[in-house]
Amino acid sequence: MWVERYRPKSIVEMVGNEDARLEAYRWLVGWRQGDRPLLLIGPPGTGKTTIAKALADEFGYELFELNASDERTKERLEHLIKPLLENANIYGRRILLFLDEVDGLHGTYDRGGLSALLSLLKDASNIPVIMAANSDSGEVMKELRKVSKVVRMKGIPPRLLLLYLEHVLESEGKSMSIGDRLRVVVECNGDVRSMLNMAQSLVGMGVSGMEPISYSTPIDAAINSFFAAGNMEEAVYALSRCEGFYTDPLFGYDSEKRRVDKLVALYSSIINASIDNDRMVRLLEALSYADILIARMNRLRIWSMLKYIDRIITYSIFNDSRGLSYSQYDMPYNLSSKAFNEGRVLRMIVDAIASRLHESRHNVVAYYMPYIPLILGRKSNSSSSSSTAVRIGEGYSITMDELEGIAKSLALG
């Protein structure tokens, strides 16, 4: 893998964030017992982990890496790190502690986690500690900034990414069309690792030119194999295939849009399925939850979490979605994508309808929600979506006027 082969072995070999790297270097060069830990703040892929690894390599430290948001509880932090510190003294090993994703310790939910971390930092003052965070907001970060040397990292400018990509291609003796190089640089969202992965797969496939790579699996086949999967692992795999490039994406080729595509495909298949209401409530709720997560991850640029999305979706809808099949919903897709992109909006709409109709949120999700986009997308009296909406509305004894009233009062029209 290129990502492994070209992982910078020293901090000077990285690209971008020159000032931040110099500051981090300065911190470790001058480090002595009792000094503040280093807190690297910046979006994923800018090189926080690489800095920690490269510094450890260069200065002969053994890197001990922990994901702070995985090891949430006080007990865990203490059980994992305290013995390490004691051993460090006993065996005289030079240890550099790297705590990744410290912004994942949520102060409000997990006061214990933060105070454990703070007391741990006190105990760890005999070894250098580097912490990394994607986001700078929240109580936890406020507290951590107070006790740390803060170094901020930013996205790597595309030209520098291109410089690095060309270095790797040259070292590998591979070539790529300029169009592909530019595309890879732009699509990687400033993340060196995903740039190299993308480039390697493009070179490996022998694809050139600006044409998108297309898997032979179109989205309907991928979704169908998800519904038909015999176990969770198969289902997760099927879902992950939806995110590849395929020939006819509704929302576009970049991965953020493809995730929307995938959710909409699931959504339309679910609401078109003839299943009982309870089952539909559960499925739609699970899906809107996944969507809220994705929107959050996109907003905070927590790309590292996105790999869990297929798993989250699969685990939450697997049982209820057996035997369904792909179905394209007859509605304006931009509307659904909007609702899906902003999970909060979806919640808001559900809450508004629920209070207006004195219904439970569950019932609203099941009975009313699917028809709102239909009504809003309705063109005069003759369109097919309109007649579908009327038919569905009649089925539930809701008149078009009532539905339209709801839509208008939500000011979505």
Partner: protein, 136 residues
């Protein structure tokens, strides 16, 4: 077109007191003698841009400095200009001339900077020395 240089002085048309004050609050410095502006290290470039966009009708282009030669990197003519959010990427890029030196040219420029840090003994020792502290 107004060119807004990061880490470098630039000029602005007359903007009125209100805009001026808001810019100062967002981390822009003004040198009365040279009548030039400068964006402070770590200032929120996005909000500076927003204030200017509101105040002037001209197009505003953010120019990153080239980390090697210090000149403008040439962002307004860059092949990535529409895909590069200069308010959020690192505050330096590399210009068309210097990029010809390739990756190794870039590294060679950085090596002396890191070596200098090493021979100075890093930040803490420096601070302690300055304070006339307890270092032995």
């Amino acid at each position: 077109m107004i060119r807004l240089s990061i880490n470098k002085d630039f000029t602005l048309p007359m903007l009125g007191k209100d805009v001026f004050v808001r810019l100062m609050r967002s981390g822009v410095e003004y040198d009365k003698v040279s009548r030039r502006f400068r964006i402070k290290e770590g200032a929120d470039v996005a909000s500076i841009l927003a204030i200017l966009k509101e105040a002037v009708r001209e197009e505003i282009s953010i120019e990153l400095p080239c980390m090697i030669c210090g000149n403008d990197a040439g962002c307004s003519e860059c092949e990535f200009s529409s895909n590069c959010d200069r308010t959020s990427v690192a505050s330096r890029c590399i210009c068309k001339q210097c990029i010809k030196g390739g990756y190794y040219g870039y590294i060679e420029h950085l090596i002396p900077l890191f070596n200098a840090v090493k021979s100075e003994g890093g930040e803490v020792k420096q601070e302690r020395r300055r304070k006339g502290g307890r270092e032995r």
